[in-house]
Each structure stands twice: as structure tokens, then as C-alpha cells.
Amino acid sequence: MNKYVERLYNGIIKENPTFVLMLGMCPTLAVTSSAINGLGMGLSTTVVLICSNLLISLFRKIIPNGVRMPAYIVIVASLVTVVQFLMQAYLPSLSASLGVYIPLIVVNCIILGRAESYASKNAPVESIFDGLGMGLGFTIGLTIIGLIREILGAGTAFDVQIFGEWFTPITIFIMAPGAFLVLAFLVAGMNIVRKKMDAKGTPLAEPAGCLAGDCAHCGASCPSAGKKPETNNTEGGDK
């Protein structure tokens, strides 16, 4: 497999940030009350992720190891500011409904996680594709969650009424508990798929990222995670 395609496959399926790595849970749970919100959040994160991966990969030899976290944050924050202003200018309604979660992309674990575990060690073009794959994986995850919650909780899909008069919306699904329920069922489904593929002999391979915030076991992709508390802080800060 071509290494760029491999990066895309890795981000969308094998290490899907939402269903496999469980990164960026806060925006995942908070903004997915409708499919449009999920899509908007996913795409804006994707844009930031691609650009930040590119820049961090370009600067990877200049950034001193001791201050790499602040450096990444500065890069990501600048990009998020740009995205935020663009969104306010051209998509004001989406910007209003996503609210504070757009500025919070700065501390999104996926972005810092990919910066730390991939972009800081690989060439720019691969990093772009890694960002694209991860971003699309995140977008797909959020859109699916948002779509399911919107259909069950409001009876609409992308703001289009899909049921007739008989349908009583189960409003809990567009409230916070619904986010947890839908996410839990989708992750369970993903685990079933993984088990089936393991049984068939084509395993999806265990994710080599910071699975569920457990940094003790991931020597492979973020070697500094076990030693340095900063990576823990990025997840704690993703509120």
C-alpha cells in the first residue's frame, strides 16, 4: 500500500481518533447534537490538523525539545484563530452553534497527539496526509454520532425532516446523556468489527496511540509520554 494511502486508512479506520483512540472526547460529546454541528466541528479540526501537522513537521528540527509543547500550542492556536475568524465571517450560524468549542480546538488531544507522535518525527508530506486521515476519521466519527443523535432526538437528518407526524422525538438523544449512549454503542460496534477481523486473520492491529489516556503503555508512538507529564496534561486540558 502506498504510504500516503496507508496514512489515510490509518486515520479513518485503524486508528480512528473517535472510535479507536478515544481522543478529543470533549468536542465529540459536546457538539454532536446535530449532524451539521458534527460535520462542521470535524472539518474545522481537519483544517487545523493538516496545517499544524505541516508546520510542525517543517519546524521539527528547529523546535528545541524542552519547549516543544509551548511551541506546538502557539502554532495550533494561531491556526485556530484563523479558522475562527474565517468561520465567523462566512459561516456565522455554525460558528454560533459551535461556540466555545472552536477556540478549544487549541487543546484538542488529537492535534497535540498527532504533533507529538507523528508530525514531529516525519516528513511534511506524510504529515499532511496523516493530518488529513486523522481529521477525516474525526469528521466521520462526529458526523455519524451527530446524525444518529439528530435522527433519534429530533427526527431530522441534516435539518431535513425524515419522519412523518407519527414520530415522537426521543429528546434525551440530543441532550448530554444521549451523546454518551450513542458513543458507547458505536465504540462497542467498532470493537465487534475489530474482533471479527482478528478472528478472520486480518487484524486491525492494536492502536499505537494514547488509548483512553493510558500513557503508560504507549512506548511505540509517543516515547516521551510515559516519562513526561505534559502529554497527560493535554488530555486533562481538553475540557
Binding site: 415522537t168 426521543i170 429528546t171 434525551i172 438523544f173 441532550m175 446523556p177 449512549l181
Partner: protein, 320 residues
């Protein structure tokens, strides 16, 4: 000779109690409240009770089939869950919403966490709260029509007290149960009858309900809408799901502490939360939310109330 010198390991004396036996007692104790609910709200109440019980049992059976576990519907706990859930629903609820509630109670609250004994909150109450949030309008619609006549319209006694003060309700009606409400919660007398059966059979003791009711009464006496009014406290005690919750749901073995002092703390938690919800919350009722919140506190309560075993010496303070 072999009969005389039968050698076996302990335990040598076994009680006859089993899960299914205790559950059967609970079902029997719930019968007065159920029968009164059916009498009070008509045939549709019976239908709703049967539907939720059938849903709960079927869900457990299907879940066990899917995950290849030993079939556990024989322990009757699903029947109890279904019955309790139905008693916590308004009779006007559409049947399919009751079915969703039953599936949620058994599949999500109970079976996914490992089945009976592993569930972290009372399945019936978990499902009731789910339905309350999911179908808020239907779950708080207490208008009842029996044989084409409007039997009850509008609000439950608790909501009436909240809106119009104590004079709006008749406490004697609330004791007997001739008021609007969910199927099983209206008649205090029928519930107490069932509770006495359970206490006499030794299935529950008075620690949790006692602590719950006393705490709640004191809270309402001091902080309620009309303070230091004895009648108000009595009306609050008889209104809503307090009695049903205190005797039948807070005492659920799985989701209440097993330590004696823990039971009292648990009861106090329930009472305090119910008082806070009823006095300061957005709704007139708060029993189900306070019980499931206290359910979540149970592991913590048990951790700090483990009694000292006989002969065990208190750990001496370490000298620096």
C-alpha cells in the same frame, strides 16, 4: 453408617432464601399497590403493567441468548423490575414508550453491567429517569380517562401543593390514593401494606426507609415551602413516589449498602436529595433522581462503613 458420618465442607446449614424466592416476596408485596393502581386507573393500567413485565423478561431472555449466558429470567428479578417500572409510569403513557423503558432498564442498566448483582443503579428507576428525560411531556401527563369520563385531570398533589399551597389537596385522598399520579405511587395505604409484608418476612429492614423518611420529613419541616407546618410535611410524605421509593426501590439489595451504618447514611442521602429536589428543583417530584444519585454513592459509602470484625484491633497510629 455413611449417613451418620457424612463428611462435607461448610456451610452445613443453608437458608431456604434464594433470589427467586425473595423476588416472589417482593412481587407479592407490590400486589396491593398494583391492584389499587388497576382499580384506580382502569384496565389500561393492567395492560401497561403486563407490557412492561413482558418486555423486561423478553429483553433479559434475548440478551442472555445473544451473549451466550446462562438464562437468568428464572430469578424473577426481571419481573420485579418490570412491575416497579410500570408502577412508576403514568397510565396515559403510550405503550411503545413503556417498551423502550423496559428494554433500557434490562439491557442497558442491568445486563450490560453484568446482570443482577452488578447493576450500579436500580434498573426500574434508571429507566424511569431515562423516560422522564426522553419523553418529558408524556411522562408528566397525568390526565386519566376511564370509560369515557375524565377521572383525573391536570396535576399530581405535589404539583398542586407547589402551585396553590396546601389547601389545594386533600390528605385523606392522598392516603387512600384517589389522586392523580403514576400507577403505583398514589395509595400510601396499599404501599405500606406491602411494606409491612416485606418487613415481616425479613426481606427488608427499616434502616433505609426509616432514615430516608425521617430525614426527608425533618428537611421539609425546616426548609419546605410552608415552614414548621406539620400538615405540610404529612402531605409531602404522602405525595409523589416517596413511599414507593423508600420501601421498594431504595431498599433494592444490589444498589444499596450492605453495612448497617451504610444503610442509614444511604437513607439520609436519599432523604436530603429528595428534599432538595422538591424544595429547590424545577419539578415538584424528585424521588427517582435522588435514589439513583444515592445508588451511585453506594460504593463510596460501603468503603467507609465496613464494620470492625470481632477481635480485629484498630490499626494503631503510626509513630513518626
Amino acid at each position: 453408617m455413611s449417613d451418620l458420618y457424612h463428611v462435607s465442607s461448610s456451610p452445613h446449614v443453608r437458608a431456604k432464601d434464594s433470589t427467586s424466592r425473595i423476588m416472589a416476596y417482593v412481587i407479592a408485596a407490590l400486589l396491593p399497590a398494583s391492584l389499587f393502581g388497576i382499580y384506580n386507573f382502569g384496565f389500561k393500567a393492567l395492560l401497561l403493567i403486563l407490557i412492561t413485565i413482558a418486555t423486561c423478561v423478553a429483553t433479559e431472555w434475548i440478551f442472555d441468548k445473544i451473549v451466550h449466558k446462562k438464562n437468568t429470567i428464572g430469578d424473577l428479578s426481571a419481573v420485579v423490575t418490570g412491575l416497579l417500572l410500570a408502577l412508576n409510569l403514568p397510565v396515559s403513557l403510550p405503550w411503545w414508550e413503556a417498551v423502550i423503558g423496559g428494554v433500557f432498564a434490562i439491557a442497558i442498566v442491568k445486563c450490560l453491567f453484568g446482570g443482577l448483582g452488578q447493576n450500579f443503579m436500580n434498573p426500574a428507576l434508571g429507566a424511569r429517569c431515562f423516560l422522564l428525560i426522553a419523553f418529558a411531556a408524556d411522562m408528566t401527563n397525568f390526565n386519566v380517562t376511564k370509560n369515557g369520563v375524565d377521572v383525573y385531570t391536570g396535576a399530581t398533589p405535589l404539583a398542586l401543593i407547589r402551585e396553590n399551597g396546601l389547601s389545594a389537596v386533600n390528605v385523606r385522598d392522598m392516603l387512600v390514593g384517589n389522586v392523580a399520579g403514576t400507577i403505583g405511587e398514589t395509595s400510601v395505604i396499599a404501599i405500606l401494606l406491602g411494606a409491612i409484608i416485606l418487613i415481616l418476612l425479613g426481606v427488608i429492614d427499616l434502616k433505609i426507609p426509616g432514615a430516608y423518611i425521617i430525614t426527608f420529613a425533618l428537611f421539609m419541616f425546616f426548609f419546605g415551602a410552608s415552614r414548621f407546618d406539620f400538615n405540610y410535611v404529612v402531605a409531602q410524605l404522602c405525595g409523589g413516589g416517596l413511599m414507593l421509593g423508600a420501601f421498594f426501590m431504595a431498599t433494592d439489595y444490589v444498589t444499596s449498602p450492605i453495612t448497617p451504618s451504610g444503610k442509614i447514611i444511604f437513607g439520609i442521602c436519599c432523604g436530603l436529595l429528595t428534599g432538595i429536589f422538591r424544595c429547590f428543583g424545577a419539578n415538584a417530584e424528585g424521588v427517582s433522581f435522588s435514589i439513583i444519585l444515592s445508588n451511585i454513592l453506594v460504593p463510596l459509602i460501603e468503603k467507609y462503613t465496613v464494620p470492625r470484625a470481632f477481635g480485629q484491633v484498630k490499626e494503631a497510629k503510626k509513630n513518626e
